[in-house]
Amino acid sequence: MHESDIHDLSDDADYAVASKQGSSSMTRADDSKRSSYSDLEDAEIVYLKDNVTIHPTQYAAERISGRLKLLKQGSSLFMTWMPYTGQSSNARLSGRDKNLYTIRALSFSDIQSIRRHTPTIGWQYVIVVSSVCAGLAFPPLYFYSGGVREFLATIKQHVLIVRSSEDANLFLVNNFQDPLQKTLSSLALPGSLANRTPSSSSSPSYGNLEDKYTSADGHLSSMQQNNKQRQKSHDPARDISIQVLEKFSLVTRFARETTSQLFRESLVDGHGPNEKRRTNWASKEHQSQEMTSNDVEIVPKKVPVPSDPLEFDKLSLVWGQPRQRPLGLQEWSTFLDSEGRIVDPNALKKRIFYGGVEHNLRKKVWTFLLGYYSYDSTYAEREYAVLVKKSEYETIKNQWQSISPEQAKRFTKFKERKGLIDKDVVRTDRSLPFYEGDDNPNVRLMHDILLTYSFYNFDLGYCQGMSDLLSPILFIMKDESEAFWCFVSLLERLGPNFNRDQSGMHSQLFALSKLVELLDSPLHNYFKQNDCLNYFFCFRWILIQFKREFEYEKTLRLWEVLWTHYPSEHLHLYVCIAILKRHRAEIMGEQMDFDTLLKFINELSGQIDLDPILRDAEALCVCAGENGAASIPPGTPPSLPIQDSSIYYQDDSLL
């Protein structure tokens, strides 16, 4: 075991390089660096910025602020970042954490690239990628008081720095080779992905991730239909590696094994390669001896389970993008032209994806997200549509309202349907003020809308779970006809969840299992060994879009985020994985069987923290990239059905 590990690493050219350069700037606290640091005391400060902050965890509230400096000594330029002492946003951030992230003296000869990120909302930040230690990235430095431009300009005065021709936000330091090639080779991807590393001739794909979403969104369905061709011509390693490095900005000391983890390193044989590698990397990269030994000791003992990437859960990743505040009325108006058209639907979706919508704006925005109004409709067109749709609704509603008791006697299917709906509307969210109390008019509305829907879409009819989907829509829309049509739009996509043969649910559960296999093979193997591959424990999550898992307000938030289809139409599957991954240590560590797992998952209801899960889901979705999309069969809900005919076909012997 040990031997093979050494062999494993000696194969890795960068490992060899890195071990020779043991005193690189990454090992910031070792002796040689300390001396070079003290040497720097007489260096000239050419740039100084306060309130440069890192977020060591996925929680935006947890941050470490500090001072960033550029120091000139002779012809060399150094970067330092020192956290402020005695001031931490959160007690959970120990002094050790601060120490860990401190950049004492990073020479620019050891920097490969700097990428500038400019989120539409929030602070600019940069990610510095080291050239010495296998292309590892430092955590993002958020410039809370601005100054990124000045930072880059100052660097430019002192070292050779060029803007990548592929990406205006990427600045290459001392490097005139193909940057992509270098990054990739130094990543030394394990396993099959490594073998598929593109040849040097392929052009770098350094595109901004956010742009990628947009295009992915636009072409999703056609892309899915062309899965086969795409898989042949497209090499995922390229995109993924860059994304992993930069999107996640892995904290230095964890970067290596996490990257491996994300690339599905063969971990099945737990105590072997993975841990060993971890140990090696720990000793190589860790800044202090104390930390190193801690990690080496703790890791193998704490988790007796095979394939211990359990440690993954505790990684201090900056997952996904920070959540933003919800879209408000004022900002909303900036998305509209003078006649009420949404000028840039993708920008709107993206905005909502990252922050949701303020409550009082939901009624307006949901109609677009759900597809009831088209984005390019004008105020006048919508006003008119409301009237047309209202009378259309009344017409359908009248179809069942006009059924006389005599007629109903001979219309068993109608009676059964009505009976079911009668029973279910009084068992849907009745503890909410909006639906509580006897003879609540909103319960009546829900009944009428559901029964009308079962006539509008007679083949699908009524099925349990629909009232859960309707409840928030009615709560937001307040208006009967508008709620109905929004519900219709939603069921265009989610209708197959209620197919009597469960085909829509099964295709999603199947896609989920494929995605877990892709993103977390040890967990997948665990489910396989424990007869849990049917993923029935996620049934309720998917059927009603996590409606029972979050408090009402959070459900509204989650739904509007999902409905943007921004990084993927199937973000909800990545949400499932994000939740599962948060609990993988418990699931695998406690060796849960199907029953225990089902109960465990059920009891997570009300315990899930939405924002971090959304960030994880986004990260997982980005990480899975096109491989992820390829794991999801075309037509899997909530994708629009491929062919329209007979998708709601129901076995007539049933309802």
Binding site: R427, T428, Q464, R540, F594, N602
Partner: protein, 207 residues
């Protein structure tokens, strides 16, 4: 809390017959008519005492809707007891009993104890299924039978506890394997308690 045995129960039957209400009445001793309909499964638990032994009941309250059956079938595995519920005011829920029973026979352990419950017996004025019919059906299929009301709590305790008593007796008699029963920290009470592999001797269904 320590217990001698843990029994897995499953509550099955058509939607709206009152499965969730029965569970809530048993675990919380209250009738809550405005709870949500069940999607998938929900869980409840309560300690009871049989023969001075603490026994923990872990109860699976399943969704009754027909189209969820393919999912709910995966819940039977390992259940020691089942409460098969119909609504005495709705005949169709009684008519569907045979298909529920078939599911249970197919997907549960053959030695699972099944208690047939005619629920909502507080609604006598709307009765659509007579007590005799219930009794008859139970007799034909080897089930224990009771009419109950989740609303008034009538016979709710009895239904759950008598089922446990029957299971317990099967353990004592050695006719049960370890399916759906876990021996807790309290130790093994009987000489044949929790014995493995004795199912085959029992054969068929039990009464």
């Amino acid at each position: 809390m320590s217990y001698a045995y843990l029994f897995k129960y499953i509550i099955i039957g058509d939607t709206g017959v009152g499965k969730s209400c029965l569970l809530l009445q048993f675990t919380d001793k209250r009738f809550q008519p405005v709870h949500d309909l069940t999607i998938g499964v929900e869980f409840g638990a309560r300690m009871i005492t049989i023969d001075n032994k603490p026994i923990k009941l872990q109860i699976w309250d399943t969704a009754g809707q027909e189209s969820f059956r393919s999912i709910t079938r995966s819940y039977y595995r390992g259940a020691a007891g089942a409460l098969l519920v119909y609504d005495i005011t709705r005949r169709e829920t009684f008519n569907h009993l045979a298909s529920w029973l078939e599911d249970a026979r197919q997907h549960a352990n053959a030695n699972m104890t099944i208690m047939l419950i005619g629920n909502k017996c507080d609604l006598a004025h709307r009765r659509a299924v007579s007590t005799e019919e219930g009794e008859q059906f139970a007799k034909e299929h080897g089930l224990i039978f009771m009419e109950a009301s989740a609303k008034t709590a009538q016979n709710v305790e009895e239904a759950f506890i008598n089922t446990a008593g029957t299971i317990y007796k099967k353990i004592q008699d050695g006719v049960f394997d370890s399916f759906g029963i876990k021996v807790g920290y309290g130790g093994i009470p009987g000489p044949s308690g929790g014995r493995d592999g004795s199912t085959s001797q029992a054969g068929g269904c039990c009464s």
